[in-house]
Amino acid sequence: MVSHDRRGEPEKSGVVLSERAYEDRPTLWKRLLNQWIFLVLLVFIAVFSVTAPGFLTVRNIRNIISYTSVPLLLALGQTFVIISGGIDLSVGAVLGFCGVSSALILKFVWAATGSVGFSIVVGSLSGMIIGTTLGAVSGTMIAKLKVPPFVVTLGMLGIARGCTYLLTSGRAIVGLPTELARVGNYRIWGAIPITLVIPLFLIGISLYLLNMTRLGRYTYAIGGSETAAIRAGIPVARYKILIYALSGFMASFAGLVTLARFGTGSPLAGLNSELDSIAAVVIGGASLMGGIGTIFGSVVGALIIGVLLVGLVLLNVEPYWQMVSVGAILIIAVFLDQVRHKDRVRT
């Protein structure tokens, strides 16, 4: 409309700071970009529904849910970590370690007490405690010793995966009670798989934590400006430790879901899962620079990964192409993130 550049001049002669054009700030273009990933999910579903025989069957949808549950659980914890400006590369390895240590403890308690139910409860709780502890250890090194998250969690990846192989000599832990797999593949009222209920429950918990509590508010604040968080008197170190502990907790839950689904403790469980979890979060609109991200986005991101995997299998494509495509989408998502936020002022 105005041909010459008038920026820098006061708008009108008003004295009140305002009247700035922030009402239309999220332009239609940007809003579409923010939701584009949901459209991508719909497009994937539409394409597979047409091309892949049997994609839209109840059995297959159950498959998608169960393949999505692990990356989804990891992505929930990863969402907090990435919003806080960090990254957790250790989630897959922590998943694997928690899975086999739960299996070993379960087996031991079962042999000692003979009670299946008790051993499953003890095994599961120990797994959760171990995962949360490993996360808290990473968090402590990041927050207190100021070692970069990338390095700490990469180191933790090696440590946890290595210990997993050491514990199992590289072999799967078998001879677990059959009831375990029955729990893992249980369907409530014969229809709703437990692999749907657990993620839904943890999505609810994550939504609550991220949007309605101090933990969530400070996660955003730390990712937005750590200086601001410190100046505001937020105990940043404590919250960082909590955030990584939460990620470890989610990873242990993913390990338990995997263990229960297959009824054996595989030392290979969660291999390369960090790629899926980070991709899910970033595809879901979170920024690796920190400060931005949503649970909704991460859930959609995880669903895209699950849909891709199952769809490609149905199309008789080699499943390894799923990793290739997730990797490619990850890079595209980060690129788009940079395009979207390049005008964001960072202090």
């Binding site: 700071l17 700035r20 400006s225 601001a228 968080a229 100046r231 002022v345």
Partner: protein
């Protein structure tokens, strides 16, 4: 006369062999606006960091309302009512206005009687109220701060400081990064705060800002306060002369 709001008594701060602040003394009365000027490295920042509890003095004392105050951390100063607005504002720019006003001190309520949740409605309302007190309209309380202009961000920082019942507001170069128009608006805001009875220490490189808003001007040079002038009865030339000249007795 009542005891001053803040009395700074022979305050010194040494970093190794460097005297960042040396034997600085001044009184600040309630409702007064004191300008703190001096060349780079004169010790202004160190002095206000001591008053805001970030640094501890090597020697000297601070009195708050006549009583000796030991400020060993920022929260000590805050609890007394000393709020500092730093040059870099320290806002979480991805969060909204209300979230920034309440950052670190969020009110909570119980949903369904037992689940603790942040009280967003209350935060929005109270943030809006405080900005209204400053006669500011910044739109939605959820607007992320990064989408605001420099002056608006400064206003949010000021709003946050006065919200917490600041009795002394320390402002470090509040107009440094602003354009002409926005600077005028912030100066207006400072004058308005003064009219409302706020006590302010204003640090600025810009003598125009200082003369526009302050009652008195303290000039620092190499760690010392070398002059304390009544704004009404001095000139920019005189202040500059003291700032750059060698020891001048006033």
């Amino acid at each position: 006369m009542a005891s001053p709001l803040l009395r700074v008594e022979s305050l010194s701060k040494r970093f190794g062999g460097v005297h960042a602040v040396e034997n600085a003394s001044f009184d600040l009365h309630e409702g007064e606006v004191l300008g703190l000027v001096g060349d780079n490295g004169a010790g202004k920042s160190t002095l206000i960091k001591i008053i805001s509890g970030v640094l501890q003095p090597t020697s000297g004392k601070l009195y708050w309302k006549g009583e000796e105050a030991a400020l060993s951390r920022v929260s000590d100063a805050r609890n007394l009512g000393i709020e500092t607005i730093y040059q870099d504002l320290a806002l979480a720019d991805n969060l909204g206005i209300a979230a920034n006003v309440f950052l670190g001190r969020e009110p909570a309520r119980r949903a369904l009687g037992f689940i603790p949740v942040l009280d967003r409605k209350l935060m929005d309302q109270r943030a809006e109220d405080v900005l209204a007190r400053l006669q500011l309209r910044l739109g939605s309380m959820h607007t992320p701060v990064w989408s605001l202009s420099g002056g608006q961000r400064q206003s949010v920082a000021i709003g946050r400081a006065i919200f917490w019942d600041a009795e002394l507001l320390i402002m470090d170069e509040p107009t440094a990064a602003l354009g002409v128009y926005e600077r005028a608006t912030i100066l207006k805001l400072i004058k308005q705060l003064k009219k409302q009875g706020m006590t302010i220490i204003l640090i600025s490189h810009n003598l125009y800002d200082i003369f526009e808003t302050t009652d008195r001007i303290a000039v620092m040079q190499r760690g010392r306060i070398v002059g304390c002038l009544e704004t009404a009865s001095t000139t920019e030339d005189e202040v500059i002369h003291i700032m750059i000249g060698t020891e001048v007795q006033v």
